[in-house]
Amino acid sequence: MGKKILVSGNEAVGYGAIYAGCTHYFGYPITPQNEVIEFFAREFPKIGRSFLQADSEVSSINMVGGAAAAGVRAMTTTSSTAFSLMQEGLSAIAAMEVPCVVVDVQRGGPGAGSTQHAQMDYLLATRGSHGDYFNMVLAPFSVQETFETIQLAFHLADKYRHPVLVLTDGIMGQMEESVDLKTVEFEPLPEKDWAVTGSRERGLKRNFLHNSPGILGFMTGDTYRSNLERSYAKYKRMKDTEVRYQAKDLDDAEIILIAYGSTARVTARAQYEARAEGLKVGMIRPITLWPFPTDIIKKYAEKVKGFIVVEDTMGQMVEDVKCVVAEKTEVHLVGFLDRHLPTSTGMILPDVVLNRIKAVA
Amino acid sequence: MIEVVINSEWCKGCGLCVHFCPKDCLSMGSEINAKGYSYPVFGNEEECNGCTACGKLCPDLAINIYRYKDI
């Protein structure tokens, strides 16, 4: 067991990065992730790692792309409205096949929205921006898991040479829990022989990274088609091997709750109370939002009376669930309108989930 | 003796070498290359001083220049 400390989810991102061997951080202030950038500014120089406050999120994502292209573990963190600014850069990073980690501590949208929690970036994160590509998206639900997920994110990024997103939110970022600081062990990774480090050691054979598969692809021996085929083969491998979720009490369940991140905490409470009252309720907590845990949902689609998706939006992940369920059973949403207050501080509380369970049961 | 060698396949017929030659050693020829551009020919050889203006200012690096010791 490692050292135990009491930290916020935002600081756990920083500790996770240190334990993952991330050496370069670039970021720009935005609520509710400011504790993250401040953590890196404070802690990274102490241990000889590199912190830079960028001039915008457009710059920070490109700086991350550059550092990662040079072969180091690099990351940035941000929140919703600024996450939008990173989209062109993320698409380019995916096209360059450069591994890096981006954390989105979600706040409300659209626009500048609110500075409080929300889960409204689900579709943007899981679908990515322009062009045919997907981000891998991980969603922890505790401070401990946030710490470990950052390490996993770097591992998966390197394994697939791909950007990996970690989605938390204002609640996850600001709340404090104890964290057991320990390095997560993973399988060995391939050498980054593609990195742009200067060609001297390669006998002047140059490395060439670009984001124009349809224009410059031929320079690396790829056609546009072979390039996209290759990346889609990669996405298939991710879907086949990297789906992660937590499931509870599914076997006899008549209703299954589905939630991720902070709303999964609320939902877990409701599930527990429902069982205490004798209701046959199970729960699935997707940990990878992309690839989405479709198989486990599909498996129960014909058995249960209904799914209840709990997410702090007007309805985004619920569309993915509906897509899998394909009208074999009912899919309900407990969402933004079920918050206990109409303001930006409103929250979805366990009671409202429990009441919905009873209404559906 | 100066030798000006035109790589006719890289030439795009822009005429800049002819323009920049201070000694009128280059002129556009009547032949065309595979891309359909006419390319320059080196003449008036005695006048060439090897200044390299034609070669250095050719946007397509289609001119190489050599000096030979008189034998």
Binding site: M63, M96, L209 | I65
Partner: protein, 264 residues
């Protein structure tokens, strides 16, 4: 045979770091000349194996087809950010330069280059100013001359609505973090030599860790100007140089702040 080789002196051949491939640019495009100078400078400084080029988006970026160094293609305007990441990712130990056009650097990427200058980022910037967007078909750029006709300033750029050409070399020279700033041209052999010297100095500033270095190079784009190659070069001499004077605007061996707040 030996005797023949000994008696031959190369006066002009493509630089060693130049890949033996045809240029993909238009006839008369002076970006090609800039690429040649870059190759000569890389060869003479002996830095081919230690250098990473970040290409912008535009015809200027086609330098990536022909220059044999490690390469990274940035998004439009983002080369300074990518370059910053690479430079810092390699802990400042390698040489990183960007090649950017006037649309790339002075329009969409203006904030990026200004902030690289503010940070005194140890990068070298090759700024290919052809007073238009070449790639997309000759539209107006921030460097387009007042009165210059382009596809998006059909009657000539009107300063009343489209403002004035931006002077990047002078502008960047004002930042404390900038070690070197010059504007050059490739309109004659003499200017070629000056450009080469400026570029060498610019790289040396980076090698010496002084600060950001930039060389703005006026470049003819005949199709945008709707002139033949020779007339396009003459146009640069007559009009572009009237707006954009050549010269060195900054050359320092040390970058220092004007004031440091102590004890906070």
């Amino acid at each position: 045979m030996m005797a023949e080789a000994d008696s031959r002196k190369v006066l002009c051949e493509p630089p060693k770091s130049r890949l033996p491939v045809e240029s993909p640019l238009c006839p008369g495009c002076q970006h090609g000349v800039i690429g040649r100078i870059l190759g000569e400078v890389i060869d003479e400084l002996g830095i081919q194996g230690d250098t990473i080029c970040i290409a912008g988006v535009g015809c200027h970026a086609m330098i990536l087809f022909t220059t044999n160094v490690d390469f990274l293609q940035a998004l439009h305007g983002r080369a300074p950010g990518i370059g910053t990441g690479v430079k810092r990712g390699l802990n400042g130990k390698k040489i990183v330069f960007t090649v950017q056009g006037d649309g790339d650097l002075a329009s969409i990427g203006m904030g990026d280059i200004i902030h690289a200058a503010i940070r005194g980022e140890k990068l070298t910037v090759i700024f290919c100013n052809n007073s238009a967007y070449g790639t997309t078909g000759g539209q107006m750029a921030p460097t387009t001359l007042v009165g210059q006709s382009t596809t998006t300033s059909p009657g000539g750029r009107q300063y009343e609505s489209a403002g004035f050409p931006v002077h990047i070399a002078e502008l960047l020279a004002t930042f404390p973090g900038v070690a070197y700033s010059a504007r050059c041209a490739v309109t004659s052999l003499a200017e070629y030599a000056k450009t080469k010297k400026a570029l060498k100095t610019a790289f040396q500033k980076q090698i010496d860790g002084v600060g950001l270095s930039i060389v703005e190079i006026l470049s003819a784009c005949p199709p945008s100007l709707k002139l033949n190659s020779v007339k396009a070069v003459e146009w640069i001499k007559e009009h572009m140089m009237a707006e954009f004077p050549l010269g060195e605007f900054k050359n320092v061996d040390e970058t220092l702040p004007a004031y440091i707040l102590k004890g906070s």
